[in-house]
Amino acid sequence: MSLASTQSVAEIKARNKQLIDQVLKVYPEKTAKRRAKHLNVHELGKSDCGVKSNLKSIPGVMTIRGCAYAGSKGVVWGPIKDMIHISHGPVGCGQYSWGSRRNYYVGTTGIDTFGTMQFTSDFQEKDIVFGGDKKLVKVIDEIQDLFPLSRGITIQSECPIGLIGDDIEAVSRAKSKEYGGKTIVPVRCEGFRGVSQSLGHHIANDAVRDWIFDKITPETERRFESTPYDVAIIGDYNIGGDAWSSRILLEEMGLRVIAQWSGDGSLAELEATPKAKLNILHCYRSMNYISRHMEEKFGIPWCEYNFFGPSKIADSLRKVASFFDDKIKEGAERVISKYQPLMDAVIAKYRPRLEGKSVMLFVGGLRPRHVIGAYEDLGMEVVGTGYEFGHNDDYQRTAQHYVKDGTLIYDDVTGYEFERFVEKIQPDLVGSGIKEKYVFQKMGVPFRQMHSWDYSGPYHGYDGFAIFARDMDMAINSPIWKKTRAPWKDAPRPSLMAAE
């Protein structure tokens, strides 16, 4: 068991503050000043976590963050399965983000769906010098020729596009006209824009607004027949099937899910969403923009929900149901009771093995707060958390609804800080990404990737919680962690003890 649980809150706070002071010592003065604003100890009752966020990462510190392209192509647009997403620029961006996010979908890849493919304009020097618009024209023609069943195309700008002054909007308009109004969406998500993935989410949301919503034809509108129970899942990327293990619960309670944004999503679903009665928003960070837009423009209310762990799932089902009539409210109760025995069995099996274990998180999107409840359902405690690209509204939600007094908070943590924090706090589990995984495992600390679910999942919904619990147990209680130290390196013990 970790040190954390043997100390009082006051002691923990003092230790955490001391830890922050210690790590800041490594930096040159200017950097220390800037980083100090991103590190803090949560004080109960405060409206946020007392850290600055959504500011530029500092050069050379080994930030974990990505870029706007990652936020748009990698997160928001990439999973729309029946559209072709062109990584427009040099080859690398599309290559490194090819298939690695595990946005599951059903379809005939290469024919009517394209999720696990890498389409790129593969810029060469001449394209930088002479501009890439002519190339883009040809790329779109070739897509049209070879993939006649694609429902649309997006152009995901890589860094050079904005720097060389290409007019991808003009190309998109012209080509859309040429191809009978085909949906072609230019996205200005060049990697140098903004400070992290976050601006890419926003830009991608705006592109949906401007190039999908604003171009919906009466014919498209007619195709869709509304019911009073239509909802859209917003901000679930179906990683390992998350959106599916969520959708099933909403349907079981009597709602009709008309769209998934964007995991296993399709263009038609995006287009149908303005007809929803309620938008339910999981990843607030990446899709609050479009939810707010739909509220303003179409009068669709939205509510945040959390499908990690039975406590939060039950709260969320009731919250969603509160927007509807008694039929749905009863449906929510029915779903909660239906899955109660499964949840009881999962907790009975895993809680005794995980009770009191401590966790440190550093993830993106909603997870630095949303998964806390799931850990608590298993008797575990989150002792440190931080956002890769959160904003102040994320830290407010974290402070007001999730973290305990004294929790160590680290925004846009650097490799150095994270290692020192984990080294000193010695949590039983770290949940972060692929770049962090092996660092902590080398240190002998159990680890789970909390972006990709470490190639497992789903973790959302009741079905997902069983997998989550199993995975956390598997990580923490793996026998391998007892073997990281060679036995001959242990201090010699009295022979009597050894004989016992």
Partner: protein, 519 residues
Amino acid sequence: MTQNAENVLDHFELFRGPEYQQMLANKRALFENAHDPAEVERIREWAKTPEYREKNFAREELTINPAKACQPLGAVFASVGFESTLPFVHGSQGCVAYYRSHLSRHFKEPTSCVSSSMTEDAAVFGGLNNMIDGLANSYNMYKPKMIAVSTTCMAEVIGDDLNAFIKTSKEKGSVPAKFDVPFAHTPAFVGSHVTGYDNALKGIIEYFWDGKAGSEPKLERQPNKKINFVGGFDGYTVGNIREIKRIFELMGIEYTILADNSDVFDTPTDGEFRMYEGGTTLKDAANAINAKATVSMQQYCTEKTLAFIESHGQQVVAFNHPVGVSATDDFLMTLSRITGKSIPKGLEQERGRLVDAMADSSAHIHGKKFAIYGDPDLCYGLAGFLLELGAEPTHVLSTNGTKAWEEKMQALFAGSQFGKDCHAYPGRDLWHMRSLLFTEPVDFLIGNTYGKYLERDTGTPLIRIGFPVFDRHHHHRYPVWGYQGGMNVLVKILDKIFEEIDKNTNVVGKTDYSFDIIR
């Protein structure tokens, strides 16, 4: 309900339950505006035809599923191969997140690398301040002995001058004046990761040999008997470099491995994270100028590096990722010729064992058709090995292969009776390969993890050799070079062949007369 606490179902079973299947069918029918299944089927069949292939090969600007990455990835890969060296990529920060993830997914190891985190203001004003602050921070935080700078395409497009920026940073006190900061411009819109490897390695040795960016006199070459060895960008670097060291030691050759990242990509789990481990010492990197010769295992990864080394008076030799008997013979005889050391009995025995194994098993490989894709040198090495096994490397495709590579491949084919129906495809991608596999089927496909999509779509069994391999673990620990490496490749190919025969003969009462216990 499908899920079960006692036997927790994973995604690959969970969603096959009837509730989920019904749910997904409804989603498709009601909300996805899906195409008529008959139309999907028609297009799917059409995409297998020679007609589609012709359209596909007529592509001029669209790249689909390429088998190459961009320059800075190779630069990072080379840079971590030096003692306590931190790669520093000047430009947008997302790129660095990608390189680190990509390498870590392959090696299952940490990858340490920093970015200068340039954003819009740097796009307008240049990234000098990012360099100044970045070098100071990296130096203080991560205590490297060297920081190796390369660039993302953003910094290249706006034309940042690394040499001037690093000088200015030193003047501003970011790092001590004497601290080593070699650099290389590595634009992503030129070449591929193998080019980046070449540029970064050349940048580092040029820095040490040619007066540390003008801050010291150039080194005078004092020839000695040592051999420099360069592996190139190699997914098997951990196993390969260790195997090469063993061979050098068996032959009694004094050597310097340049960019030796075999240890940093294979650190133990013992409670300590080692950001830096092993690597070519900076002293050795400098002294490498005195070597008698430099041997590169991958010509196309080291074109500029070797030209630079040659211009400093050394003999240089480049191989093409040698795999198998003859290629290893050639490698060893070249070492012997250069160094005057004889090839020891032990290696001769290893050779005999590989020949023995090939003789034992060749009947199962002889005449089989293979498609190969990957980096140009790897393709060449594997094709050479298949030819000496009597197999036919029918389609050999390299997205980052050049016209010159194509000619070299065709010459290899021309030299073997098994190569007469074989073709090299430079600059093509895996969507081209898909057409090739449909229209001119082969028995097996050799490639990286992304080949699994081709295996699924075309039914061609995939043998995973290449980079990246994300979905199988630890193969990078086993060499593919040397006779023992050849043995590993042979076994990998044979395993797949036997598995396929078993898979195709295991229907009870129907095909299982061939389900042989001895093969």
